[in-house]
């Protein structure tokens, strides 16, 4: 089962949860975000722009790998992976 870890500022859009377990195994990170949006639409729009691009001050890791160093939102998601959404060290 793939788990998506939600950062604190976005937990109000996940009914207060720190992680969301996906019922399906997504092929890519984009698929995972779409799956999250089906139950928690407030998260995806704050992670990617209207045009579907990852927001510049958001990092997503699949396991320990930053998807910016891989294939971006097209990065493959292995079975049992942990996807972490993390605000970059900026702003606030």
């Amino acid at each position: 089962m793939v788990r998506v870890l939600i950062p604190g500022p976005l937990q109000p859009f996940a009914a207060g949860r720190r992680e969301i377990a996906l019922a399906m195994t997504p092929r890519t990170v984009a698929d995972a975000l779409r799956a999250v949006a089906e139950t928690h639409p407030g998260i995806r729009d704050r992670v990617v722009t209207e045009q579907g691009a990852l927001r510049p001050h958001i990092n997503i890791f699949v396991g320990a790998e930053n998807i910016r160093d891989a294939d971006g939102l097209d990065t493959r998601v292995p079975d049992e992976a942990e996807i972490s959404i993390l605000p970059a060290v900026s702003g606030g």
Binding site: P41, D45, E50
Partner: protein, 417 residues
């Protein structure tokens, strides 16, 4: 990553007739409340801590008391939120209300302006955003759509971003019965555009406004307008603070005349008009575009009471030594009482207020984050007798003009000598 809980801000208790200040900062929104005496202020906030709030508004039309705010997070983007109980609870829709449609190919960077529509259209609202575009709602803010007329304007591709990005920061809704479809917007650096048909078509309105950073200093468009303020009782009267230049228009922007008379600099950002007197306006000049601080280290509001023929500095209550301050485009607001309250905030987090038409100022508070937006409103929409009289006079004049029989175009026959 550890997350520290931020205490829920205290909420304001207020009643009709109280004055409320909406103060947007680089770190959140603060609310201030006072009675009409405006001597003591309660404060609440920060709301949306860690976000920049460039735009806020209080909509009192249709019996509402709805606060709007546009918190913008470096991480999670910009959104619109509202509160119907003066900040006790905020509604943040899961899907942000203001979004570019996919076919526009653009993404929202910031919301720079929230403007309630006309009083007789209480469910209409407008937002000016970055990249420069206008959004509108016809259902009291439930849904929003991109104004296609302006977005599709052939000039848009040639607009250049200013220091704050390519932002549409001014939305003026003409309140007069004679101009039901008139909207004026300004962007940096697109210049001023006006629609007379409710936003379907737009035309540049920059005649007489300089663009000193262009080879042709008087282009049709492309001016770096910093702020335009209109007078509600005489909507054709506009004041414009430009990136170099102070201007007035008496014809709704068809033409502009230079009114930089007696100011230490015609560079600045903010501009506000008096609620009752169309000849009175307020600015805070800055030294220059390459040094955006108050000239000579003196924090001075300049006021004109004759439509810009002359400007006089107001120094009473303001620091006149080592005060290298900056007041940005939306960081000044006025209330509607008599005498009027004039308020402004600085990038160093000071908030000043005047309760005597701007004759003198008092420090309301300091220690705020950098202030980027100040809006003032009277709960219940109370207006000064002067403001009511001016508005009533303007309405009567307009109605008289509308009611007057049209003159025949046929030339009069001369009487025989």
């Amino acid at each position: 990553m550890p997350m520290k809980k931020i205490p829920t801000p205290n909420a304001l208790a207020a009643r009709d007739g109280d004055v409320v200040l909406l103060v947007g900062t680089m770190k959140g929104l603060f609310l201030f409340r006072s009675t009409a005496a405006r001597r003591r202020w309660d404060v609440a906030g920060p709301y949306f801590p860690g976000t920049t709030v460039y735009a806020a508004a209080l909509d009192t039309r249709g019996g509402r008391r709805r606060l709007w705010a546009a918190p913008s997070s470096m991480h999670f983007g910009a959104e619109l939120a509202w509160s119907d109980d003066l900040g006790r609870r905020w509604t943040r829709p899961e899907t942000p209300l203001v979004r570019f449609p996919e076919e526009a190919g653009a993404s929202l960077k910031n919301i720079w302006q929230i403007s309630p529509g006309r009083a007789d259209e209480p469910d209409t609202l407008y937002c000016g955003v970055e990249p420069s575009a206008l959004f509108e709602s016809r259902d009291a803010g439930e849904t929003w759509s991109l104004n296609e007329g302006l977005w599709g304007h052939p000039h848009r591709e040639k607009w250049q971003p200013g220091g704050g990005g390519l932002c549409l920061h001014t939305v003026l809704v003409d309140p007069s019965p004679s101009q039901p479809g008139r909207l004026t917007v300004a962007s940096s650096t697109g210049g001023c555009y006006r629609s007379d048909d409710g936003g379907r078509t737009w035309n540049p309105r920059n005649r007489g406004v300089r663009a000193e950073f262009m080879p042709d200093p008087h282009p049709e468009f492309g001016q770096c307008v910093h702020k335009i303020a209109h007078h509600p009782a005489r909507p054709g009267r506009l004041y414009l603070q430009n990136h170099w230049g102070l201007y007035r228009s008496d014809d709704g922007g068809d033409s502009w005349r230079d009114i930089a008379n007696g100011v230490p600099s015609d560079f600045g950002f903010c501009m506000a008009t008096h609620p009752a007197d169309p000849d009175t306006a307020y600015i805070v000049p800055l030294h220059a575009d390459m040094f955006r601080c108050t000239p000579e280290g003196k924090l001075r509001v300049y006021r004109t009471r004759d439509g810009g023929r002359s400007w006089k500095p107001i120094t009473r209550g303001l620091p006149q030594k080592d005060a290298w301050e900056t007041v940005v485009r939306d960081a000044m607001g006025v209330d509607t009482l008599d005498p009027a309250g004039v308020y402004f905030g600085t990038r160093t987090g000071q908030l000043y207020g005047s309760r005597d038409d701007g004759d003198s100022f008092e420090l309301i508070t300091d220690g705020l984050p950098p202030v980027v937006c100040v809006r003032a409103a009277v709960l219940g929409g109370r207006k000064s007798p002067k403001a009511r009289a001016t508005a009533s006079k303007a309405t009567k004049t307009t109605k008289r003009k509308q009611a007057a029989p049209r003159r025949s175009r046929r030339p009069r026959r001369r009487k025989a000598a």
